[in-house]
């Protein structure tokens, strides 16, 4: 029995080899499995106000100009908000493939901000299966307004706010991506004891491509109750992303004025129901400062 099996094996071997030659020559090499990373889950590093799971590539500088106009409900007199503008100028840079940093300066509170985002896990299939992308994100913001009471003892540390986020996301299909963002905002100083220094919030965001160059986006931050003053509301934004060559234009409607985390998460005064809606845009222009290394794939 053993013998006949061996004979069968040796008879079959050349036949199998011959059969293989009938098909494609490349079949002889076999299929080499590679790690296939999910790419371009979002068009830029921001969904609208919030960070997305995208990083700028290594050696790439991204100049971001963001505008939020006044509120739509200010009417025709203010050209539906266009007479007022709030600005943030920012520079993002990719230090490595997975680490990016950024700085910016905004109109709201004349705030300076800085952040770092590190991609810990990257969605992939093939040789390595990873269902989601997970990034760690931390930012710091400094209120740069003049002290309201310069006579009293003012501490620089009281103007600092820190934000920490887990950015979890998955590209569900070629055109649909979804994100969840558990968030902690720490404010060194709050106005009253009724407000907490640590504010927990939970964000959700997504992107749906309509065509290769056009996508709709949305994001919502739910602040857990009894942490911030009653005048503040949850941030909700909808937008479209338009891509033309080296630019990405993001046009959107949002009830938030600030474009930094602590601002839109904990200091949004507008309410959609009242028509406190800002039209706004982000323009992103990238510059390649350092060309990628030319490394042939290792084999």
């Amino acid at each position: 029995m053993k013998n006949s099996l061996a004979i069968l094996f040796f008879v079959l071997l050349p036949i199998l080899a011959a059969a293989q030659e009938e098909g494609s020559l490349l079949d002889l090499l076999g299929e080499e499995e590679t790690i296939e990373y999910a790419s371009a889950s979002f068009k830029t590093t921001r969904i609208i106000n919030s960070q997305s799971i995208e990083n700028v590539a290594e050696g790439v500088l991204d100049f971001k100009i963001s505008h939020r106009f006044g509120m739509l409900n200010t009417g025709a007199y203010n050209l539906f908000g266009l007479d007022a503008a709030t600005l943030r100028l920012g520079l993002d840079y990719g230090i490595t493939e997975n680490l990016m940093v950024g700085i910016g300066r905004g109109t709201v509170q004349k705030a300076l901000d800085g952040f770092a985002k590190y991609r810990l896990l990257r969605q992939s299939k093939g040789l390595r299966n990873m269902p989601l992308t997970l990034s760690l994100y931390s930012s710091i913001a400094v209120n740069m307004l003049k002290w309201p009471n310069p006579e009293q003892d003012n501490y620089a540390s009281s103007r600092l706010t820190f934000t920490h986020q887990l950015l979890m996301g998955r590209k569900l299909s070629k055109s649909t991506s979804l994100m969840l963002m558990p968030t902690l905002v720490h404010r060194n100083l709050v106005a009253t004891t009724a407000e907490s220094n640590d504010v927990w919030a939970f964000g959700i965001g997504g992107r749906q491509k309509l065509t290769n160059r056009l996508a709709i986006t949305g994001e919502y931050y739910y602040v857990l109750p009894d942490q911030i003053a009653d005048i503040y509301h949850n941030s909700l934004s909808f937008g479209i992303d338009i891509e033309t060559g080296g630019h990405v234009f993001q046009l959107h409607f949002t009830n938030s004025t600030a474009m930094i985390d602590k601002g839109f998460i904990t200091e949004t005064t507008g309410q959609w129901g009242n028509g406190d809606i800002h039209f706004g845009f982000n323009v992103s222009r990238v510059f390649t400062l350092k060309e990628p290394k030319k490394v042939p794939e290792a084999h």
């Binding site: 013998n3 061996a6 004979i7 040796f10 008879v11 071997l13 050349p14 080899a17 011959a18 030659e21 494609s24 020559l25 490349l26 002889l28 090499l29 080499e32 590679t34 296939e36 790419s39 371009a40 700028v56 590539a57 290594e58 790439v60 070629k174 290769n212 160059r213 891509e243 033309t244 060559g245 080296g246 990238v286 390649t288 060309e291 990628p292 030319k294 490394v295 042939p296 794939e297 084999h299």
Partner: protein, 183 residues
């Protein structure tokens, strides 16, 4: 037992038969688009290729996502908007060296060759023909060729805003070092 040995020799003979095939998994294909506005170059170092010296049959395959650009955003646009790498992950060429009889694979030298076949990019197959060179040195092969590809031939849509940044004819350079395929 004797039969077994005989059969083993038969199998070995079949294996040895395949020795006149040459292959690589890390060949290089680059493409270059030149316009007055912008020059674009991309490189792929993971090209698979197999050449059958006996028949002159030749096949190439590469992953579109493995093309490296200088600009990361350009690479993203290439994959997302132009060649749609999710839908059409591979480009392939299947063809024949027309004058493979002129190439003596056992002798060192440089041989001009004429290659014809079918190039499939973006899921669209087009017949192509190109001249190239095969260099043979101590049993190793180097094959190279330069030819032009029109994006429109492969249904790759280019929006009018960027049309003057992308050449009508894109120059493709193939350079592969092939080694004998051992089974």
């Amino acid at each position: 037992m004797k039969t077994l040995l005989t059969l083993t020799f038969f199998s070995l003979a079949a294996v040895a038969f395949a020795q006149d095939k040459y292959f690589t998994r890390n060949g290089t294909i680059t493409f270059y688009s030149s316009t007055p506005v912008e020059d674009i170059k991309a490189e792929n170092f993971g090209v698979n290729a197999v050449l059958d010296a006996k028949t002159g049959d030749l096949e190439f395959s590469l992953l579109m996502k493995s093309f490296n650009f200088k600009k990361a955003l350009m690479q993203e646009h290439f994959n997302e908007n132009y060649v749609e790498s999710d839908k059409f992950p591979k480009a392939t060429f299947k063809g024949k060296i027309e004058n493979s009889g002129n190439v003596d694979f056992s002798k060192d030298g440089s041989y001009p060759v004429q290659v014809t076949g079918t190039l499939t990019i973006h899921g669209v197959a087009k017949p192509v023909s190109s001249s190239g060179t095969i260099n043979i040195k101590s049993g190793m092969l180097n094959a190279n060729s330069v030819f032009k590809v029109k994006p429109e031939d492969h249904d790759i849509a280019i929006p009018s805003v960027v049309r003057d940044k992308i050449a009508n004819d894109i120059e493709v350079t193939v350079n592969v070092d092939l080694e004998p395929l051992k089974k």
